[in-house]
Amino acid sequence: MTEPVPAAPPAPPPRRPFLGLNAERRHILYAMAAAVVVFAVGAAVRPGFASPAGISAVLLVASFVGLVAAGQTFVILIGGIDLSIPAVLNAAAILLVTSTLGDDSRALYGVTLTLAMGAGLGLLNGVGVAILGVPAVIMTLAMNGIVEGLMLGLSGGLTCQACASYAPPVVQAAVHGTVFGLPLALVIWGGIIIVVSIVLSFTTFGRRTYAIGNNAVASHLAGINVPLTTILLYALSGLFAALAGILLVGFGGQASLGMGTPYLFESIAAAVVGGVSILGGRGHYLGVAAGAISLVALTTVLQTLNMPEYGRDILYGVVVIALLLAYGREQDSV
């Protein structure tokens, strides 16, 4: 489970770890504790906030952030970043409604097509970064522009007739429906939390991801196909953004322009709160999921206190910077 720590020369005896946990697992714990604290404060301010219904509502919204953050985490773990998420998510939502036209019989086709588009765009990001050597910020920022332009141009600024369609009832049911009293979207997210955690911690693919994030050159020398892994990770990020787009349009019914915009920053914030090092190589998705929940819970509390929309933007920025200062510092000083 733990990272293979590069064999260090005899080091001074390490400080006794808190509860026998290493720094990374402590961050997961912090993120979870933060979520509990926010819920407790919320319940104190607004009775009923921490009721099962209240918690479930927060978790449902957190699941969208959490899904996008899963892809972002994959990419950040190798020291990259995906700035193309807003456009990919938005394009996915629009593609789903325009390809299905709200018809259940075309839902499977539409969902497959949308996921394939997300993965394909992510793949292009990966090719640009890994093979053409374009810096990740530039590649994904440019991809965001490219997808946004195509999305606006092809849909005529979302004025096309098909653009007004609703998501197929099946997709809407997949978000709003319940199994054993749990919202289906939450069940989907729970499954993804388990799968992503297992993939990252117990598979060779996960090992390779951490290895590249820690040292790409050493990973290459150790026989890892760095470009291939990088491309796959960016493709996964695109896939998760598209999945979030599908669920969001199922949640809201219709697609709109700008629906992906908040998710770029929220996904990065969730990753940072969850203890993922922005320099790569460190962090777990379990922490990110807890980070997504605490951020969404915090926003919800503030909304019940009538904090305006812009307050959230300011607060997220401050929280991220504070956490970065707390544990995101670069080790080497120049």
Binding site: L132, V137, G145, G149, G153, F265, L279, I314
Partner: protein
């Protein structure tokens, strides 16, 4: 680093050629940017002529360059930051804040306008200082820091000016943009001159040194922290000036007016031949890159391309420009070693 010239008795003529060649190779991106800009202006004039059977006149030139001025300013700021191996994604947010402030507080009297302008530039410097302090003193990654401050600044801008509106004193607009002649070209020239001065100043040398190798720069007595701080402050001031210019041409404020500049400022800098890895490039290239970005949009407009596709082409040009400059850079390196 260019290889040292052969220490033999080369004829003076040959040496001059070598010096010329080397300086051409070093400034390749800059030269290329200006060549592409000239070509794009020619294409623009041609498409314009094809549409309207006349060449663009003083009015078109004035409005085109005026529209580019905010991008020229942001691009210059972004270039300074990128030269120090940084990145400033918050420029759009700083434009938003300063644009909103301009709409509310410029007033109508001469003193209020002058004081307001200075005050807004100071606000830009302070917002840049926050970025710089977090990156240089806090030792945080520039990308994440400036994404976070972008979110904060955008929120602040909407807090200051919830709805587009406010007023810009007409005199302020007429001085900056409605002067009937392409004065903005003169501003561009002045900025280019200013850049040449900066390039040769102590600060300019520090900026390039830090971008090339922070450790050696530090070993040579350059304060890396201070240089990076100043770079982000300058970027903040440049973005504030862009916000003022944008307010002057729109004659009203909009708290989201600057959002697109985060992408386009990087496009302008990259098209202008500035290396994203720091230490290579020139602000004069960034000016060319900004003008080139506008030219591309104008050419697309006169070629009847739907303006909705604009960000598609901007993104595409960004990737193509980065890939091409890297390929050319690799070629030049191979030729010289």
């Amino acid at each position: 680093m260019p290889p040292s010239p052969p220490a033999t008795s080369a004829a003076p003529q040959r040496r001059t050629n070598q010096v010329l060649l080397r300086s051409l190779a070093q400034n390749f991106g800059l030269v290329l940017a200006w060549l592409v800009l000239i070509a794009s202006i020619a294409i623009y004039a041609a498409t314009y002529y094809a549409q309207l059977s006349a060449l663009p006149g003083s009015f078109e030139i004035t409005s085109t360059v005026n529209n580019t001025m905010p991008l020229v300013l942001t691009g210059l700021g972004q270039a300074i930051v990128i030269l120090t191996r940084g990145l400033d994604l918050s420029v759009g947010g700083i434009i938003d804040v300063t644009n909103a402030l301009a709409a509310l507080y410029l007033g109508t009297t001469l003193t209020s306008v002058v004081l307001g302008t200075i005050g807004i530039l100071v606000v830009g410097a302070l917002l840049g200082l926050v970025n710089g302090a977090l990156v240089a003193i806090g030792r945080l990654q520039p990308i994440v820091v400036t994404i976070a401050t972008l979110s904060i600044y955008q929120g602040l801008a909407i807090m200051i000016l919830p709805q587009p509106g406010g007023a810009i004193p007409p005199a302020f607009s007429s001085i900056l943009v409605n002067s009937g002649a392409p004065w903005a070209l003169v501003y561009c020239g002045a900025f280019a001159l200013l850049w040449m001065v900066l390039r040769r100043s102590r600060l300019g040398v520090s900026i390039y040194a830090v971008g090339n190798d922070p450790a050696s720069a530090s070993a040579n007595g350059i304060s890396v922290v201070r240089t990076r701080l100043i770079a982000y402050v300058l970027s903040g001031v440049a973005s504030a000036a862009a916000g003022l210019f944008l307010a002057a041409s729109a004659t009203a404020g909009d708290a989201t007016a600057g959002n697109s500049y985060t992408l386009t400022s990087i496009v302008a800098v990259v098209l202008g031949g500035v290396s994203l890895f720091g230490g290579r490039g020139s602000g004069i290239g960034a000016i060319a890159g900004a003008l080139l970005t506008t030219m591309i949009v104008n050419i697309l407009f006169f070629s009847h391309v739907d303006p909705l596709y604009q960000s598609f082409y901007e993104g595409l040009f960004l990737v193509v420009a980065v890939v091409l400059t890297m390929a050319i850079g690799r070629l030049v390196k191979r030729r010289r070693t």
